[in-house]
């Protein structure tokens, strides 16, 4: 399968007023095959937005190579941009213009002809519930609506690669769901999607492949299943007791879980360690307080993420 995005040993240094330059990206490499959804996860300052800016040709790379649909972002910036539609982290709308003008001008600036742009604008406005707002000036609208306009714009185009930098931030859950469904449909049609997000459940649900980065370096990458195998010594345990009291919670805390949540008589814990030793300890607990229900599962993406971040710091 041909790569839609290819990044090799990418480095980015930002000069600062202090003597030490900031290393925003430090040898990141990955490939995104066409028609796949690729998630980029990391805490604030990990380098996700820098990577998006380099791929969108907003900022130059320091060394390494980045290509979009085979076009080099440094040597062929215009050809690279012709393959892209981008939603940046910052809310971006033409505030003085109407919603209608926002959608149309975006299409015109991406080379869509006037008649076709009008047609697409009507469809998108309907799909994203903007039809009643078309004549409204954007500066009078809420931040959530502005974000909706910003994201709706990208579906006016057919560019083969979509890049979304925390695009669903500030959206209501229903609209978020609609955008996610639409992204999945676009990927099925063959469009490639690169998204950065802090909402790990979103990445877990949407992405075919995930890369976790921190301080400009790749911490882990692969499918969710592959990431789970990286955390072979991590377990999520769901327990149910007849009664939970302070003493029981104290005993569970003494088992050193990474995470412990008590909700009524249900307890959810995440452990890092050997499975056999964990089971022995839980058997010990059940001698005094019988366990009614017991379930052991692999970790969620959030748990993998937290563990990797803890290990890297």
């Amino acid at each position: 399968m041909t790569s839609a995005i290819e990044v090799q040993d990418l480095r980015k240094l930002y000069r600062t007023n202090t003597s030490q330059p900031v290393r925003a990206l430090d040898g990141v490499s990955f490939q995104v095959p066409q028609g796949r959804i690729y998630g980029l996860l990391g805490p604030n300052g990990a380098g996700k937005s820098t990577l998006v800016k380099i791929l969108s040709t907003i900022t130059p790379l320091t060394s390494g190579r980045a290509q979009v649909m085979g076009f080099d972002v440094t040597g062929q910036p215009l050809a690279s941009r012709q393959q892209l539609t981008v939603v940046l982290q910052q809310t971006a709308t033409e505030n003085l213009l109407t919603v209608r003008d926002n959608l149309l001008i975006y299409a015109y600036l991406h080379g869509v002809k006037s008649q076709e742009a009008q047609k697409r604008m009507q469809n998108i406005a309907e799909e994203f519930e903007l039809g009643q707002l078309l004549r409204d000036t954007v500066q009078e609208l809420s931040i959530g609506t502005k974000r909706r306009i910003q994201v709706a714009k990208i579906f006016m185009l057919d560019a083969p690669v979509i890049i979304l930098d925390e695009a669903t931030t500030g959206m209501d859950p229903l609209m978020k769901r609609r955008v996610m469904d639409r992204l999945r449909a676009e990927a099925r049609k063959g469009r490639t999607i690169l998204l950065t997000t802090q909402v790990l459940s979103e990445a877990e649900e949407l992405c075919d492949t995930i890369m976790i980065i921190d301080r400009g370096r790749t911490m882990a990458s692969g499918t969710l299943r592959e990431l789970r195998t990286l955390s072979t010594h991590m377990f999520r345990v769901n327990l149910s007791f007849a009664d939970t009291n302070g003493e029981l919670v104290g005993r569970l805390e003494a088992l050193n879980p990474i995470q412990l949540k008590v909700d009524g008589n249900a307890v959810e814990m995440v452990f890092h360690g050997e499975e056999a030793s964990l089971l022995a300890k839980l058997a010990d607990v059940s001698r005094d307080t019988p366990i009614l229900q017991f379930e052991v599962r692999g970790p969620t993406l959030e748990e993998i993420f937290i563990t990797l971040m803890k290990e890297s710091r």
Binding site: Y14, R15, K53, S56, T57, I58, T59, P60, L78, R81, Q82, L84, T85, V86, L88, Q90, T91, A92, T93, E94, N95, L96, L97, D101, I105, Y108, L109, H110, G111, V112, K113, S114, T137
Partner: protein, 254 residues
């Protein structure tokens, strides 16, 4: 729609949302010509002589007022980058499939039209109400000078608008530039009678080149060789500033 046409349309839609701003661009130079020009004409009393021809002060000032039109339009257009930064659209614009030069040229194209209309109003007022002896045969040349100068100033101011994070810092630089470039030029007075320390910076000021060229195209005064040099310098100034502005856009997020 081509990149330049699309940016032109965008700027047209934006500018039309604030007619007051457009009015300001078009009518302030007229007020300058009438109030400032007539005031000084009354004070100076006699006419101004250039190359053995006598002109009313208002006629002498008219090409300078055209310089003012290009300067104001360019300043207001470059200020638009701060509006784009405020709304967050600035960086998104840089991801669009248009070249940086297309973005800059498209942005100034609609505003060049405003500068042409503003200049037309100044010329009409100068001729009809103030008896300026306009060279109608050279009007196309006047238009070319207005277009080149508006674009050149806009590209120059864009470098600052793109690089500066703070609007107040940008406004300070522009205010200083406004004073220095206007007054260290041949806009308000002939340079020949001024001391050397004043003339040297004035002769390397693009505003002087522009006003001298406009004085030739509007009133027919000036010597060919210096004017050819000034014309070449003004064109070069616009090209260099465009190159610098493109570079600034390429490094905007750094």
């Amino acid at each position: 729609m081509s990149g330049i046409r699309a940016v032109f349309y965008r700027d047209y839609r934006q500018r039309m949302t604030n007619i007051g701003f457009v009015f300001w661009d078009l009518f302030v130079p007229l007020a300058y010509l009438v109030l400032f020009g007539l005031g000084f004409e009354r004070m100076l009393g006699s006419s101004i002589g250039i190359e053995e021809q006598a002109f009313r002060y208002t006629a002498f000032l008219a090409p300078g007022v055209l310089g003012m039109v290009t300067f104001s339009v360019a300043m207001n257009t470059s200020w638009g980058f701060f509006m784009d930064k405020d709304s967050g659209i600035f960086y998104e614009l840089l991801t669009y499939p248009i070249t940086r030069a297309q973005l800059l040229i498209g942005k100034i194209s609609f505003n060049v039209l405003l500068a042409i209309i503003g200049s037309g109003l100044v010329v009409a007022l100068g001729h009809l109400a103030l008896d300026a002896p306009i060279r109608w045969d050279l009007l196309p040349l006047t238009a070319i000078i207005v277009i080149t100068a508006t674009a050149g100033w806009f590209f120059l101011f864009s470098v600052f608008a793109i690089r500066f994070a703070r609007m107040d810092a940008f406004n300070t630089v522009l205010s200083a530039a406004y004073i220095l470039l206007m007054f260290f030029s041949s806009m308000f007075y002939p340079l020949s009678d001024l001391p050397v320390w004043f003339r040297v910076p004035a002769y390397i000021n693009p505003m002087t080149w522009q006003v001298d060229l406009l004085r030739f195209s509007l009133l027919g005064v000036g010597s060919v060789t210096p004017l050819l040099l000034e014309g070449a310098a003004l064109g070069l100034f616009a090209i260099i500033c465009l190159t610098l502005a493109v570079r600034a856009l390429n490094r905007a997020a750094d």
